[in-house]
């Protein structure tokens, strides 16, 4: 029988744990010997994007550093659900101090390790959007401007979820939260407010800034690996859907993260020293509506009649992102 070369379309794709991939190309999550830094038994919600993101990130960081990693965590969902006293999910040295100071505490840890001549030990700091964008912002900026050797990861679920879904500086326009209710002429969170922390991080010209989502595992792990290959202040902003706060189905978490990226609302890119170096192109763009509809926090936009005026404004934001980063390759 004549031999015929078969093109395996899965090779080089983003499929997790693909047995057809060379071992070196497989994701860390496919590795039975992975760190499993965030062990099972934690108390996160069903479908929690942050638990997923944190496990992905920290396992990738452990691999990249050969296990020589220390984690500093801000107060928030991740900290609370991962350490229900007297248990802890964490399989690496882990420190939680306060809500507002994870970046500063991490700077202190990095300084201590430098003083001890133990710079082989690397420092990861992590927090939610509240602890990063708002209350932790001063400490974050301080860590950035000093270029401290800390890799900071923000898990952004776009509100203060742990305290009952209140608006943060990361809450997108028209999203319903407990402090931006879907009432009045402009329901949900106001437009024209909020911070774009990845761009602010870039303005500090630190060695590495990147955004990612839990939908693209290889991309996320590659970014963690890239970050850990560098020294100095590094920042990764990960979109992590929250079924409870977003009012979405637990099974939709990864799908929503992908839709956020495909709509252009969450641009995925990398930057070094203030310049964008790579982007994740959108090969099959979707209108923002497709991303917003499955989330009850936007339900008031799809009433009778639908708020097409507000949807247009959101679409405009997506269009602007696509233009700014040159994302549309469809």
């Amino acid at each position: 029988m004549p031999a015929q070369a078969v093109k395996f379309y899965q090779v080089g794709s983003r499929a997790v744990g693909n047995r057809l991939l060379d071992e070196r190309l497989r994701s860390e999550q496919a590795n039975p010997q992975r760190g499993n830094a965030l062990n099972s038994g934690h108390r996160a919600c069903q479908g929690c994007g942050e638990a997923l993101g944190a496990r992905y990130v920290v396992d990738a960081a452990l691999r990249a550093t050969d296990g020589k990693l220390v984690a500093v965590n801000a107060t928030g969902c991740l900290e609370v659900f991962s350490t229900p006293y007297p248990e802890s999910s964490w399989q690496l040295p882990w420190l939680h101090s306060l809500f507002a100071n994870a970046p500063a505490v991490a700077s202190g840890v990095a300084a201590a390790l430098k003083a001890q001549g133990r710079e082989d030990l690397r420092v990861l700091a992590q927090g939610g959007d509240g602890g990063t964008v708002d209350i932790g912002f001063a400490c974050l900026s301080g860590m950035f401007e000093r270029n401290d050797d800390v890799f900071y990861v923000c898990y952004d679920n776009e509100a203060y979820m742990n305290t009952g879904v209140q608006r943060s500086g990361s809450t997108p326009p028209y999203a319903r939260t407990a402090t931006t209710e879907a009432v009045g002429p402009e329901p949900g969170a106001p437009i024209g407010k909020g911070k774009d922390v990845p761009r602010i991080a870039m303005a500090h010209e630190i060695p590495y800034v990147a955004t990612a989502t839990v939908a693209e595992l290889h991309d996320l792990e590659a970014k963690v690996e890239r970050a850990m290959s560098l020294h100095g202040a590094r920042y990764l902003h990960v979109l992590v859907p929250c079924p409870l706060g977003w009012g979405s189905a637990p099974a939709d978490t990864i799908k929503l993260a992908r839709l956020a990226q495909r709509s252009g609302l969450f641009p995925v890119f990398e930057a070094e020293h203030g310049e964008v170096t790579a982007t994740l192109p959108i090969r099959d763009r979707v209108p923002v509506e497709e991303y917003l509809r499955p989330q009850r926090r936007y339900a008031h936009l799809f009433g009778d009649p639908p708020r097409t005026d507000l949807l247009e404004r959101i679409q405009h934001i997506a269009d602007r992102n696509v233009a700014r980063y040159g994302l549309d390759r469809s």
Partner: protein, 413 residues
């Protein structure tokens, strides 16, 4: 070696000899000379192995110290007043986590109204944060206390704040006998943490503790803090054996047989001691170096023979009364001694020997009530109170009182 140097400089050198590994620094008057001196030493190589970080705020400073200490390094910082308050959350955190950070508080008043001068309102406002609190009566004590503080903190895993009167001590030049580097190395071994972040033996530090265990955890923290009552004297004696002078948690001056005893913290006790030397009557001075944990037994014993106790305080609890007085009263429970609270030296107003002499005269004449503000400008406050009752449109009261003060440049203190 004995040198005529500035208090801040002596503290910086004493701290440097303790080989701090991480010093996060944020400026605030009047501690800044201390961190500047340490920064210079870290930069020019005379403090090898020290990472000096200029942080974005005092909150950042204490946070970085927490991280450094948890990672197994000896951490130190300094602050005052508003800065101490800004790091208040982190103070409780460091104590609760059991991290042996040492910090200098250059005692300064708290605003509003903003005031950069010396009193004890800053450290007193944080007396419940779980830190050991030591007050230096002069710069020699300040230098010695910092060295002892590191040993104390690391022995108990409880952070220590050394309180030094801002400007009055920090900016004063006086003769100080600094312990030599060899003496400090002999006394203070390298930091051996009870807990630290180590991949070889991972732990989670800082978990949430619920109702089922929180009480016990807090009880144990308090127990550790209380241990300082025994550990401090032991360490002070050991240090003292090396340098030839011993700091005491509670220092009695002419209290034997004294009918009246003045209780004081910090530099004002020196003025009080000078005064009692000049008096015919039997008046003694009890200086508290350790304020937290409060040395109840020693205070009770030292005041056992006193009929009248005057607690000289440099802060007060608005709406309540004296701060130190409350603890002194607890110490003297059951005693018939008459206890008077005198609030003096707020916001840097100098406490003079003359005023203290007048205070004792007032005590003798029965003119000293339960709580008195020393050197209060009664006419100015009475005028202002009248105004307050007369009209709502009073404007800021600080402005009104200052208008009564006359030409600022012609007044001292």
């Amino acid at each position: 070696m004995r040198k005529q140097i500035e208090g801040s400089r002596a503290i910086a050198e004493a701290v440097a000899r303790c080989r701090p590994q991480v010093v996060p620094a944020y400026p605030i008057t009047p501690q800044t000379h201390i961190v500047e001196a340490i920064g210079a030493m870290a930069k020019d190589g005379s403090l090898p192995g020290c990472q000096f970080i200029t942080v974005e705020s005092e909150f950042g400073a204490m946070s970085a110290a927490i991280g450094a200490s948890a990672a197994g390094s000896r951490a130190y910082t300094a602050t005052a007043s508003q800065g101490l308050l800004y790091m208040a959350e982190a103070l409780f955190n460091a104590a609760g986590l059991g991290l042996p950070v040492v910090m200098t508080v250059a005692n300064r008043a708290i605003g509003a109204p903003i005031n950069i001068w010396n009193d004890h309102s800053d450290s007193m406002s944080q007396r419940d944060c779980g830190w050991i609190q030591l007050y230096a009566k002069d710069n020699q004590a300040a230098a010695d206390l910092h060295v002892i503080a590191f040993a104390l903190a690391e022995e108990l895993s409880v952070p220590v704040m050394v309180c030094v009167d801002g400007f009055v001590l920090t900016h004063a030049f006086e003769p100080i006998d600094l312990p030599s580097p060899e003496q400090v190395d002999t006394f203070l071994p390298p930091y051996h943490p009870r807990q630290f972040l180590d991949p070889a033996d991972p732990v989670s530090i800082g978990a949430m503790v619920g109702p089922e265990a929180y009480t016990e955890v807090r009880y144990l923290s308090n127990y550790q803090l209380g241990q300082a009552a025994d550990v401090f004297p032991t360490l002070a004696r050991r240090y003292g054996a090396g340098v030839g002078r011993t700091v005491r948690a509670v220092e009695s001056y002419r209290t034997d047989g004294a009918e009246t005893v003045i209780v004081a913290l910090g530099s004002v006790s020196g003025t009080a001691q000078e005064l009692v030397d000049e008096l015919a009557a039997d008046v003694g001075v009890l200086t508290l170096t350790m304020f937290r944990p409060f040395p109840y037994a020693e205070v009770r014993a030292a005041l056992a023979g006193a009929r009248r106790v005057v607690v000289l305080e440099r802060s007060f609890s608005p709406g309540a009364g004296g701060v130190v007085s409350a603890d002194v009263r607890t110490a003297l429970m059951g005693s018939s001694a008459q206890i008077s609270t005198v609030i003096a030296g707020l916001g840097g107003r100098a406490v003079s020997k003359a005023s203290l002499r007048q205070m004792l005269a007032d005590l003798d004449a029965g003119r000293l009530g339960a709580m008195t503000f020393l050197d209060l400008r009664r006419d100015a406050v009475e005028r202002e109170i009248t105004r307050l009752h007369r009209s709502r449109d009073t404007g800021p009261h600080a402005l009104s009182v200052l208008r009564e003060s006359g030409v600022p440049a012609s007044r001292i203190g």
